[in-house]
């Protein structure tokens, strides 16, 4: 396995790093400054509501993945297992609980404040519910608000579902938030934030769609997880996020005009050999080694489903200032993991065709049944419909015990060989015609 050098960062990544550093500093000073802290989840997050009430969000999944990238998750997970959590269960949960047991030190080395509110936005993942039930017991007496997001079981969002969610927001979630914040929700301020959100969402979609070019100027999976950060977490609805996406879009279009390939941690890719669509979250414990296998082989991810866990903006959804609560409800229900399996297959098929992908790859995650259960059937469906080679690898989110570099590399190398051979055959067939 290689020992990667210091990663080469694009300008937008530097901006984002500063945004995050400021947030974590603000969080570490939250109690001293009298700021209330809300723990919540990324999919179906209600960031605009939190920020509109001058509270600060903390996302336990982000803490867990950061712990994974910083090689701390293994120890945290073992500590949670000592407490009685089974080896079989979600490692994000165990990593988060382990981190808490070890003093709740965040990614910047500063202690994260305890929550004043647990905002359980229960969207697209059953384990979220169990996770916050556990946190509620670990932080006894803390206020907890539950927002049940109905699943799109019939492949659409119904009026009944919207009404259910809006009632929960109006009568349960927002009053609890107001109680903790000590102030009423200012709907004008919320509207302004939703307007900013929509602007950032427009720009994000433009960034994603640059991957339709050949070569793609971006990697929509490995780099995509950085790009989606501000929109999916603490910055959606802010001017800062709009500014970030303006910069990012400018940077990406400049690259596109020059016909450049994506930037990787080791510099610019020289040649785009394979265009892939990927389903499933990445592994975080060995993120750079994992990415390197792809860019070393000239493989670019032109579209991914993981970058849609925080919202399917590229399919048309935008936050609407004029209908704030309805739009938040639709946003929650529209996140990728809240789609049913036929919708997910349709979306992947659409990406493969729209982004002219050579192959489809699933990174199946042991910890995440929301993504993983059903993926083998999805893979067959996609293969049948699109007639392109499909690949399947397995790893985990943040448990280093479930990342086998050699196995994954072997499997991917075979897969890329297959893709390469197929390209040769297609070229021969086209020449014959």
């Amino acid at each position: 396995m290689s020992n990667p050098k210091e990663a080469i960062k694009e300008k937008s990544m530097v901006i984002q790093k500063e945004m995050l550093a400021n947030l974590f500093t603000e969080l570490s000073n939250a109690k001293a400054n009298g700021k209330k802290v809300v723990y919540t989840f990324v999919p179906g997050n209600l960031t605009e509501l939190i920020l509109a009430m001058d509270m600060l969000p903390v996302y336990p999944e982000i803490n867990a993945l950061q712990s994974g990238m910083r090689k701390k998750s293994g120890g945290y997970i073992k500590d949670a297992e000592k407490l009685g959590f089974s080896e079989d269960v979600c490692t994000y949960v165990k990593c988060d609980i382990g981190m808490m047991l070890n003093g709740n030190i965040g990614p910047t080395g500063e202690k994260l404040p305890e929550p004043d509110l647990l905002l359980l936005s229960y969207t697209g993942c059953f384990t979220f519910l169990k996770w916050f039930e556990n946190l509620e017991r670990l932080y006894p007496g803390v206020e907890i608000a539950m927002l049940h997001t109905p699943y799109q079981e019939d492949g659409k969002i119904t009026e009944d579902q919207i009404s259910y969610m809006v009632k929960q927001l109006k009568e349960d979630v927002i009053p609890k938030m107001e109680k903790v914040a000590g102030k009423k929700l200012d709907y004008d301020r919320l509207g302004k934030m939703l307007d900013n959100a929509a602007k950032a969402e427009d720009l994000w979609v433009k960034v994603l769609e640059t991957a339709k070019n050949r070569p793609s100027p971006i990697d929509s999976y490995f780099a995509g997880v950085y790009y989606m950060g501000p929109l999916n977490t603490a910055f959606r609805g802010t001017e800062e996020a709009v500014h970030y996406y303006e910069e990012l879009y400018k940077e990406v279009t400049d690259r596109m005009k020059l016909g450049l390939c994506p930037v990787t941690p080791e510099g610019e890719m020289k040649e785009e050999k394979f265009r892939l669509v990927v389903e499933g979250p990445p592994n975080w414990t060995n993120f750079r080694e994992f990415w390197k296998i792809f860019y070393d082989m000239g493989a670019v991810i032109v579209a991914s489903t993981y970058t849609k866990v925080g919202g399917l903006y590229d399919q048309g959804f935008r936050h609407e200032p004029g209908k704030p609560l309805e739009s938040l409800a639709k946003y929650c229900m529209g996140c990728y993991t809240n789609l049913n399996l036929p919708q997910r297959v349709d979306l992947i098929e659409h990406y493969i065709k729209e982004y002219k992908a050579d192959g489809f790859l699933i990174n199946s995650i042991k910890s995440c049944n929301s993504f993983s259960a059903g993926q083998l059937l999805m893979m067959r469906e996609v293969e049948q419909r699109c007639g392109i080679p499909v690949g399947f690898i397995e790893s985990d989110l943040v448990d280093p015990r479930y990342f086998s570099y050699a196995n994954i590399k072997n499997r991917l190398e075979s897969y890329f060989q297959m893709l390469g051979q197929r390209k040769v055959i297609i070229a021969q067939e086209e020449a014959a015609v």
Binding site: G84, S86, D88, K130, H148, Q168, L341, A373, G374
Partner: protein
């Protein structure tokens, strides 16, 4: 020692055969008697079977295949780290065991079962297949309204197939039948609490599981007979401890495991096997002009504790401790299916509650086709001995 009545033995044999008929012959024969009859398969844990009954349907529990069916295709649909239950369900669907079923309901238990509903849609199984998304908000005008609409959707699905409109009278009659069913099951558990040697845990498991695949009228007849038979004195008590089993609410434990626990010296006086048949705790009013409202109310206010339902308003840890006290149990065996996130994520808190209440407990994991019980038997035996000797 007075022997068990012969009729009980034959009745138990009948239940055992019904419980594990993975071709669902009884249900299919029942349906064949009228073109207006429906079969609606449902996954663990709970669906309101009353509405299916009132729509001239038979709700058939799809509780997994246990160790009764070799899984070949199912393993090609699921990765090794996903629980066993859905493999068997897919295997049955692909092997045509579920032919003649009109619809399928997938209660909101976990992401595996949720996604299985999508797999049925992709595989085009049944005339309808729906994820049954319980509300996790328990306010009547919020979660209650949503739940009512969900039930109405299912009622409409069934109406489209057999054109049978559910009347108030029909639904009240169905509610009454299932009230009686739950009363009888509770009576059996109560008798067993006092005289657990009269009916083994395996026997009661077969009796209740049989009720998942036959019509409630017939099941009630069987239960009434069982109640009568076990109300007589027979058998002899053994020097066993009394335990509650917690965690097996969805994927069902193999029969050999239940037997091993009892043989190791533990009377199982309560459990969460096939929780759906005991989900509503108490009776649903069967005399009103709006029976659907009563079903909704019952779900919101009388649901059993379960890992599938948001429990912050009513922590299940306190309810487990109360259950142990009420049943006079000596300890708890936490016994969950491998890779079952809901049960396994609940376990640390439930164990802590037991520790705080001074209740002894052990835990192990299983999957529905576990074939080796030696370790489990030894563990349960040691647990039983330690309680007998030291507590």
């Amino acid at each position: 020692m007075k022997k068990a009545p012969e009729r009980l033995t034959s009745l138990l044999d009948e239940c055992k055969t019904l419980a594990f008929d993975l071709n669902f012959n009884y249900a299919k024969q029942w349906k064949a008697k009228s073109k207006y009859r429906l079969l609606v398969g449902y996954l663990p844990i709970y669906v309101p079977r009353e509405i299916i009954h009132a729509a001239n349907g038979l709700a058939v529990g799809l509780m997994g295949v246990g160790d009764r069916k070799q899984i070949i295709k199912g393993d090609a649909y699921y990765q090794s780290y996903i629980c066993h239950l859905p493999r068997g369900i897919i295997e049955m669907a692909l092997d045509n065991n579920l032919d003649n079923f009109d619809g399928f309901l997938f209660p909101s238990i976990c992401d595996c079962v949720r996604n299985l509903s999508g797999m049925f849609k992709l595989a085009k199984k049944g005339k309808f297949s729906r994820y049954f998304d319980y509300p996790q908000n328990f306010e009547k005008h919020i979660g209650g309204t949503f739940y009512r609409e969900l039930n109405e959707t299912i009622i409409n699905d069934m109406f489209k197939i057999n054109d049978m409109k559910i009347t108030t009278q029909h639904l009240n009659a169905s509610i009454a039948l299932y009230n009686h069913n739950r009363d009888l099951i509770e009576t059996i558990y109560n008798i067993r609490q006092e005289f657990p040697w009269r009916l083994s845990a395996v026997d009661i498991y077969h009796i209740i599981r049989a009720g998942m695949v036959i019509n409630v009228e017939k099941h009630n007849e069987m239960l009434e007979e069982v109640v009568n038979l076990i109300s007589e004195d027979f058998g002899e008590p053994m020097d066993n401890i009394r335990v509650v089993i917690s965690g097996s609410f969805c994927e069902q434990p193999p029969i050999g495991m239940i037997k091993s626990i009892e043989m190791a010296g533990c009377y199982i006086v309560d459990d969460d096997f096939m929780l759906g048949s005991r989900w509503i705790q108490g009776r649903i009013d069967d005399t009103t002009n709006d029976p659907l409202n009563e079903i909704v109310e019952a779900f919101l206010t009388k649901s059993a504790p379960s890992s599938a339902v948001y429990d912050v308003p009513h922590p299940k840890s306190a309810r487990l401790v109360q259950q142990v006290r009420d049943r006079g149990a000596d300890g708890v065996i936490f016994c969950a299916a491998s890779f079952c996130d809901p049960a396994l994520l609940d376990r640390p808190d439930l164990q802590k509650a037991c520790d705080d209440a001074g209740i002894a407990h052990i835990n192990f994991q299983f999957h529905e086709n576990t074939g080796q019980f030696k370790v489990i038997k030894e563990q349960a035996g040691t647990f039983s001995d330690s309680i007998k000797l030291w507590v």
